[in-house]
Subunit: 368 residues, 4 copies
């Protein structure tokens, strides 16, 4: 692409958001504030403790143990990395053989919005059409059967893993039945199952039929997101029945090993103390439920029916223009006819009063 | 390697340190504590501000401007990444053409201790013998001349960049004269010069002949380390005359783009306010100078003569055993004859009293 | 995939073909015989000449000059590589910036049947739905426009190149109008255009509106296939306005530089002497036309209407079973209802009598 | 490198050789002629046979069986690839885990003259000082012991394989004792042993203590070079106890799978019929021995004492200038004092009379 405007990428300017800074009502995303106060407190409290680096400190050990207990897998390997794309590409590349690729919904984060990070590791993302962001068991089974029957398969990329995001990029969640079906197909076909839990805390509340222990039972690896669930940064990679060999070396080689491993260790230790991780998820989903109920009551359409912390209202152009001056929402897509789908997200930082104010604005629009 | 002991890498256990935790005197490294208090304070203060993600917030913009001013390069591109290996491999790969490799001292961090991260991006590290961790201008010039004269060069890896660390892994620093000579060779040969400043704050104090503006003038890219100079995490990549095209996309693809860009932005904004970065470096080097003076006075040998924040005393086996029970030091290497070289590091967190106590222990040893 | 049968890949057994060896009538593919006799003769004739290696010999120079003349681009850079996947991945990777991927039809060879070779170089294949194997200008334009308008594009893979195969994997060809439209979109958007001409000789005959000079005028790079057009092995990469810098080094690094460069040089020198390349294409397409006419006359359906050297008849299950005992055809796919699409290919080696015999068999089927 | 002269790489010009073409006496290399006549004959003879592609033909099967018999490993997997760099990078990458690199002598072909092909696959070449091109068992053992004892090893590249070339780039050969010692170290340390046999035919004659069966017994993989031992192109990869899984897919992905697999299959079938491979090696080494004897008799120095088909005479500047006008020799290096080391190579194509003529020239020089 040679459009001069496209070349402009330095320095980065606001990428997603019209106006994110300031005092405007904020529903643009779930990473707009710093950290849950309990996390900052613990960082203060431990700040002068002299701890070994590279994840060998006592807080990281404690966080690991608490996660093992929470997921019901005492033998699980747990690693802490800094970000979502980083954990996805590192775990995926480490679990694939050179001849394998990873199957994902065409709307999956790794398929679209990670700048080709998985391909950069040498592996193909094999996309299947998603429905509301979700991979369909029937479609996957059919794909696998056709691959196995293809006489040309040695000239093709082998499906070695299935990637799911929970909740998906469209705010939907897999049910226990759906995840069990997908996991069954994976096991039957010798594919690993990896679940991207960048927002897993919100899925735990939205889809109570699936507990952390269920994810550990059904997946070969999954991430527990911190960045969007109360941390400054940090994602936990959980391998219920063991990580790939020398995974620490892989993390180092991928540039994802923090000298001050304590930063992630302390944060996850707090998240998994006294049920904070679950509490954050429940609070945010409760607020999102209030928004959804208001949208329905007021007659707003939604692009996708969601149940976690993201909501996709459809607005008229006028509604969109007026609302965006008073509340920060993420533009999602322009629909045929001129309507605009936006994304509103709640988070650990969303207050009851924020939602009251948002609902008041939505009501005001409908009273015009 | 199939030694069972070597296979054990999961979960990570203390890698470098005998005993790092607890209340023992600590000189093991410069990343053993959390963050400089001013940084933590600012994180608290800004915690509830709603800011755009991915580095588009006002603190990141401010930090970028302050760094541009500090390095005297108003057009510089500045990016913030999380860690040292990450910034090294991302910057190096982005600045090399596919047919190029990076020249480094054989003791360089990228040559030895980054688990092959640069090679993972497809580029060779071309090593030359270092002296006290430093690359020698004469050796580099000779290497370049031989390469240019080699009729087989199209079958070889082209030297496209020179990598230096300042201070080096051996605690030494390049002087203004040395760096100027190396930069001249690079320019004459069309090679880029990249300087790994993971501990640059300490070099600024140790080698006052080189200012931040000098690094900006002589290097095509350099990093300003935060993790080892008072941050929880974070390194700044500075490109004095512009970053490679679409570097933000590269950072994303490499898994190094933080959703909460504010974390690095706020930290670096503090570091570059009221001269804090320089102050941290001066304090730590002053304490290191005190240790060096005591070692000389007491007749301890040093493996390498250093001037920054790392010191490499040589101890007898008995001294090593006794001292390691009371002060945490990094084992460096066992010398012929049984003596042990250790590394002691000061940091932003080293107190005057810590050094007093260390000197007292060193004196006690010599009184035996 | 863990099906034991799938694991069986060593040693390779016939991959595509039921029974390829022997005296059965052969229309399975266009690489079933050795080399055009004129090529073998020249290999004999020059066998004892002592020539420099790595493409520096006089035959390679001559072949390069003849190709430059044939494509009407006296400044073109021309390189000879051994195979199709090799030339595709080497040229594509060399012409893409790190943040770019290559756009291809979802049925493109690089999308499906090169085992992830392009991804192995770190680049994504961005697929668009093909029609009869062809990429559609409207679809491409729409894709490019949407990408340029996407505010998230720095988190996405930039389309840096368009890949076309001519003829396509489905035996169809782009017309002059179609190729001109696609090239125009590429130029407007700053994307390079690469045309995979593994079977280009057959396209020259099938689509006479496009000459070699047209390909050179419209494409940034294209390949002239030898393996399937009379050579033992070998493909020419043509860069009408110059190859990427140090492309020879890239070829070496990719393992695609032959010590005995003479092998490709001599073969292409023969192919481009006295119009042999064009003649081979015309003969094969003439035979394919005879088959197509017979199919139409006899009432056989075709999966795709083709005009080059590949034909895709649709057979009933019974026809397929009987015919496959007497003529070697490539199984293509099983259609709903039980019919079978097969591929028949003509080549430089197809004799008039072969086609007579095939037509006789087709007639016999319809007489039943 | 920005020297304009260095940028000139397109089109390739003679890289290694002053004057290679013509009727001058030729000892420049062992790939200056076409193919052994028996090979060309067989290519003619089989040219019109219709055979399946991708190595599924009967000649490839036969060649594979003959090689299995010759190496005494009936279960060996055997694959045919086109060139030396290609087979090295493909086999090495396929046998290394992501955290592993390959140990080689600093003069090894993969260390210096393959344009970074191994690094391009993501793996580091860990170099040790060679002696006369050979890796030393003592040095390797020491390296492995130090690595295993290094507490930082999870931050380092693990040595996963040892690469040897036989004969080496300096024309020397490992003895049975040396190879056994190196293989023992590899097995003890869990490293694979790969032997690059680009010129293996000549080693078989030069080092009769090592038979093909010995290589199969001692190595995890080795190549049997064809390009420099009578073929137009082609190298066999032999995995005595089995290839890595899906190696065919790897070969395809690396762009190294030939559609006309028959080309390599037929050539190797001929090479391994009636002992031709051994015969070629013996003839060439016998001629090289004659040259070595003459050099000694006439008082010429040699840069390295060799025993295979490469010889490295040291000439005065005047001798070099005069001789290079009458015999094509490869310039090797300029020594201190102005003398020139050259390389003379014999091959399957070297005639008794060629050597007579060379010896006459050498005598003439000494008579001056």
């Amino acid at each position: 692409m040679n459009d001069a405007r496209l070349r402009r990428d330095v320095p980065p300017e606001p990428l997603f958001f019209g106006e994110g800074e300031g005092t405007m009502l904020f529903f643009e995303n779930d990473y707009g504030e710093g950290a849950h106060p309990k996390i900052l407190e613990k960082l203060w409290e431990t700040n002068r403790e002299k701890l070994p680096g590279y994840g060998a400190d006592r807080y990281t050990a404690s966080a690991r143990e608490k996660i093992r207990a929470a997921v019901g897998a005492p033998e699980a390997d747990v690693f802490f990395l800094a970000g979502g794309t980083q954990i996805n590409r590192t775990v995926i590349a480490a679990m694939l053989a050179p001849w394998e690729g990873v199957v994902a919904a065409d709307t999956g984060h790794i398929s679209v919005h990670e700048a080709g990070a998985v391909e950069r590791t040498g592996h193909k993302v094999l996309t299947l059409p998603g429905r509301g962001g979700k991979l369909d068991a029937g479609g996957l089974e059919d794909f696998v059967r056709r691959f196995a029957a293809d006489e040309n398969r040695e000239h093709m990329v082998f499906p070695g893993m299935v990637y799911l995001s929970q909740p998906t990029e469209y705010g939907t969640t897999y049910t226990a039945g759906e995840l069990t079906a997908l996991a069954g197909i994976c096991r039957a076909a010798g594919m690993r199952l990896y679940l991207d839990g960048a927002r897993l805390g919100y899925a735990l509340a939205a889809e109570p039929s699936l507990t952390l222990a269920d994810y550990a039972r059904l997946c070969d690896a999954f991430s527990i997101g911190g960045t969007k669930v109360g941390c400054l940064c940090g994602e936990a990679a959980v391998f219920p029945s063991g990580a790939p060999p020398h995974f620490l070396n892989t993390v180092k080689r991928e540039g994802a090993l923090a000298a001050k491993g304590r930063l992630a260790g302390i944060q996850f230790d707090v998240l998994f103390t006294d049920g904070l991780y679950g509490e954050i998820g429940r609070d945010a989903v409760r607020q999102a439920d209030r928004v959804r109920a208001a949208l329905d009551r007021l007659g707003y359409r939604q692009l996708v029916r969601t149940n976690a912390n993201q909501i996709f209202p459809v607005l008229t152009r006028e509604e969109y223009e007026r609302l965006s001056r008073r509340v920060s929402l993420a533009f999602w897509e322009r629909l045929d006819g001129g309507d605009v789908a936006v994304r509103a997200a709640t988070s650990w930082a969303t207050e009851e009063a924020d939602v009251d104010a948002l609902i008041a604005l939505l009501e005001e629009e409908k009273r015009r």
